[in-house]
């Protein structure tokens, strides 16, 4: 802070500085030869920026020379890559090599505002960002569990920071910074923290999860957008011989081979460890009449058809603890005369 008594001295310093700058400017303008002798080498007057900031293997990166002191627009700018000239101008595009392959870039600036050069070493890195949800899928399901309302997402970063000798930097020695929609997860970031568990976005929403990874000489970034979708209710025949026929979902109109047929409802991507989780509420109806399911096995319904006909099976699944969760479905199941028993006006029991 400057007091009242310091003003004359402060003003004097400012005046001397202004005179010096003006005189220097006149000298530079009057004598280009003299101006070229102004050399900023060894300073940070010239820098190189890269886009993207963390280029991947075999990608093309745009390099741009930047300077707060040099008049780059009026300067002669030359670029060299691995010792060979590749272009001129303030920006240049450089094709990188494979993972871990070093690319040396030098930019030289000369002009009326001064001379300078800068160099950068580019080593392509990559980070695989894998994710899965912890939602329910049935045993032996070959696909991936996707996030549903209330579920969590597990993410794993696998960085590929390759040294010149071909070896990769161990994941345990890399510092990870995790972000969800730009907000840093401090508690789950740090050295060796290559995985994270985050809650899924609310229904129909999406989250952008980003991981920055860095260690001496290497850095990288990866991000992924994860969308939360509806659970999916699928109905299967539960055969006494074969078990649940997961390979053959019942369509909106299906046939039943037996007069007594059990159906298993599978709520894909629900936030529950099993279809019979006590937090799930099943409401079955057959031909408009509510049917009470076995409390021990509420995801299953057995229909005993007395004669041929069509059963309109409806099911809705809710989760009292999660107002966003609901799933429902309707299926028409035809019972044939061969499978069904005889007589009776009430076809289904």
């Amino acid at each position: 802070m400057t007091g009242e008594g310091d003003c004359p001295r402060y003003n004097a310093i400012m005046l001397r500085t202004l005179i010096a700058l003006v005189c220097g400017g006149i000298l530079l303008a009057a004598s280009p030869a003299l101006a070229q002798q102004v050399n900023f080498t060894g300073t940070t007057a010239l820098t190189i920026s890269a886009s993207p900031a963390h280029p991947g293997p075999n990608s093309t990166v745009e390099l741009t020379a930047e300077s707060p002191l040099l008049d780059l627009a009026a300067s002669d700018i030359k670029w060299d890559v691995n010792g060979s000239p590749v272009g001129s101008g303030q920006s240049v595009q450089v094709k990188l090599g494979s993972l871990g392959q070093r690319t040396d870039v030098v930019v030289s600036v000369s002009g009326g505002s001064g001379n300078d050069s800068a160099e950068v070493v580019l080593v392509p890195t990559s980070i695989d960002l894998l994710w899965e949800a912890d939602s329910y899928v049935p045993p032996f399901y070959l696909g991936r569990a996707l996030p549903g309302s209330g579920s969590a997402i597990r993410l794993l970063a696998i960085p590929h920071f390759v040294r010149p000798d071909g070896s990769e930097v161990a994941s345990s020695g890399i510092t990870y910074t995790w972000k969800v929609n730009g907000a840093v997860l401090k508690a789950q970031s740090g050295v060796g923290e290559s995985s994270v568990v985050v809650p899924a976005a609310i229904l129909y929403g999406s989250d952008t999860v980003t991981v920055d990874a860095a260690t001496t000489g290497f850095s990288g970034e990866a991000s992924v957008v994860v969308r939360t979708g509806d659970p999916q209710l699928v109905l299967y025949d539960d055969s006494p011989l074969f078990g649940i026929l997961y390979h053959r979902a019942l369509g909106s109109s299906s046939g039943a081979a037996e007069a007594v047929t059990s159906f298993a409802a599978v709520p894909y991507f629900v936030d529950a460890p099993s279809p019979n989780d006590p937090n799930l509420a099943y409401a079955w109806s057959v031909n408009g009449s509510a049917v009470t399911a076995d409390p021990q096995d509420p995801s299953e319904l057995t229909i005993n058809a007395q004669s041929q006909g069509i059963a309109q099976v409806e099911l809705s699944v809710s989760k009292p603890s999660d107002p966003f969760f609901s799933a429902s479905g309707a299926w028409q199941v035809a019972f044939s005369a061969a499978g069904a028993g005889a007589g009776g006006t009430n076809v289904f029991h």
Binding site: D128, L130, W131, E132, P139, F140, Y141, L142, G143, R144, A145, L146, R154, L156, I158, H160, E168, S195, V197, V224, Q232, V234, Y236, S239, L241, F242, G243, L245, Y246, H247, R248, A249, A257, E258, Y268, S274, A338
Partner: protein, 414 residues
């Protein structure tokens, strides 16, 4: 005196009559009782011979077929000259070709866990085991006849059984079914693969913080910890040279990754694509991989680890493909005539959509494809090819029809 003699004679005669009557009564009583015992014993099957199967495939097949509403009376209705053979109409849990001079396929019945053997040259079928293991959801059979059977118990726990067919059965085609002997592997195995060349199993088992990938022998011994991951949804694929590839469970339109597990425990990236499905060649470093996004399928071939992927003209997933034997870089794929879903992969895995496929031969070196077989004329129902496998001689492709898990064999040559 005469009077005494007469009396004595009468007494003796009476005793004789009484004794004879007692003996007759005793005979009739015992005989009747014996008949009752024999009848009861017969009712309990005492002394009767061991039940024999009706036909080589057995009555279980016929019961299952009738339950499904299929025609009964034999597994095969086609002749050996036919190119396409429906080996089993009832659901099959898994299959595997066998080593040997004659192409032989073994498969596991889903309902019973029994192992059967089929020979495409004569369309013969033989039941090898009668050990009941009901409701087998997945099975795997190696070239040497080792069998993995996977099921779920009442509490939802994943059960895995590793065993072998008793060797006595294999020596005679007329011998009766034998036992499937083996061990239960640890519960909760999420995914498992068998090395085709060694006595090694790779499996991922659930841990509190994810999964642990271990290797053991087929007896479940010599366990080695190979890798651990906070992610739990992987598929394991043995690559034929003693290694294992981890493929992230695919989802339509979602980036998937596949890695080869290195000996030092690190992962090297093999492929990366949305909706990634993968099939490494067991004899070379060639790959087939598929992508699925927005209802569009693409199949790529990579002839070696250093080669660039080439997009093929056919649209299918790698799950519908199988490599031929040797280093010919020839593969065979079931190609859907149409997919019928905007999220085909997800809906196909859920059993919501099924396809009608034609077979193509893929030359991975040239990245070219040739139509091999269109089953339209030989079967009324469409064939949704799943788990295809080419026999070691390269003559046949075995596969299941994902629509009903029936088992089929296609002769490659016309």
């Amino acid at each position: 005196m005469k009077k005494y003699m007469t009396l004595l004679r009468l007494v003796i005669t009476g005793i004789a009559v009484l004794a004879l009557g007692a003996l007759l009564g005793w005979y009739y009583f015992l005989h009747g009782a014996q008949q009752q015992v024999t009848t009861d014993s017969a009712a309990r099957s005492f002394g009767s011979g061991a039940p024999s199967f009706e036909g080589t495939a057995g009555s279980t097949y016929q019961n299952a077929a009738s339950t499904l509403g299929e025609s009964v009376g034999g597994v095969s209705t086609s002749t050996p000259a036919a190119r396409l053979w429906e080996v089993s109409q009832v659901p099959v849990a898994g299959l595997g070709w066998q080593n040997g001079s004659v192409p032989t396929l073994r498969f596991v019945e889903r309902s019973s866990g029994n192992v059967l053997e089929a020979t495409p040259s004569d369309h013969g079928i033989m039941r090898l085991t009668d050990t009941l293991r009901p409701e087998i959801y997945a099975a795997l059979i190696t070239l040497d006849g080792s069998v993995l059977e996977r099921s779920v118990d009442d509490s939802g726990t994943l059960i895995t059984f590793a065993g072998n067919v008793a060797t006595t059965t294999e020596t005679s085609a007329t011998s009766s079914p034998d036992m499937l002997q083996g061990v239960e592997l640890p519960q909760g195995i999420r995914t498992i693969a068998a090395d085709p060349l060694s006595d090694t199993l790779y499996y991922a088992i659930a841990q509190p913080s994810g999964i642990s990938l271990v290797s053991t022998n087929w007896a479940g011994q010599k366990e080695k910890q190979l890798y651990s991951s906070p992610l739990t949804q992987w598929r394991l694929i043995t690559d034929g040279d003693g290694g294992v590839v981890l493929l992230q469970a695919p989802a339509d339109g979602v980036e998937g990754y596949a890695y080869r597990l290195q000996k030092n425990g690190s992962l090297s990236l093999v492929a990366q694509a949305p909706g990634l499905t993968l099939l490494p060649d067991a004899s070379t470093t060639a790959l087939l991989f598929g992508t699925s996004q927005g209802g569009t399928l693409s199949l790529f071939t990579q002839s070696s680890a250093s080669a660039s992927p080439q997009r093929l003209s056919i649209q299918t997933v790698a799950d519908k493909c199988a490599w031929g034997p040797g280093k010919s870089l020839t593969a065979y794929c079931g190609v859907p005539t149409q997919t019928g879903s905007q999220q085909f992969l997800d809906d196909w895995y859920k059993g919501i959509v099924h396809t009608s496929d034609t077979f193509y031969e893929v030359d991975a070196q040239a990245a070219s494809t040739t139509l091999l077989y269109d089953p339209t004329g030989d079967t009324q129902n469409g064939l949704d090819v799943e788990d295809p496998m080419v026999d070691p001689s390269g003559q046949y492709i075995a596969f299941t029809n994902a629509a009903d898990q029936s088992l089929w064999i296609l002769r490659i040559a016309p």
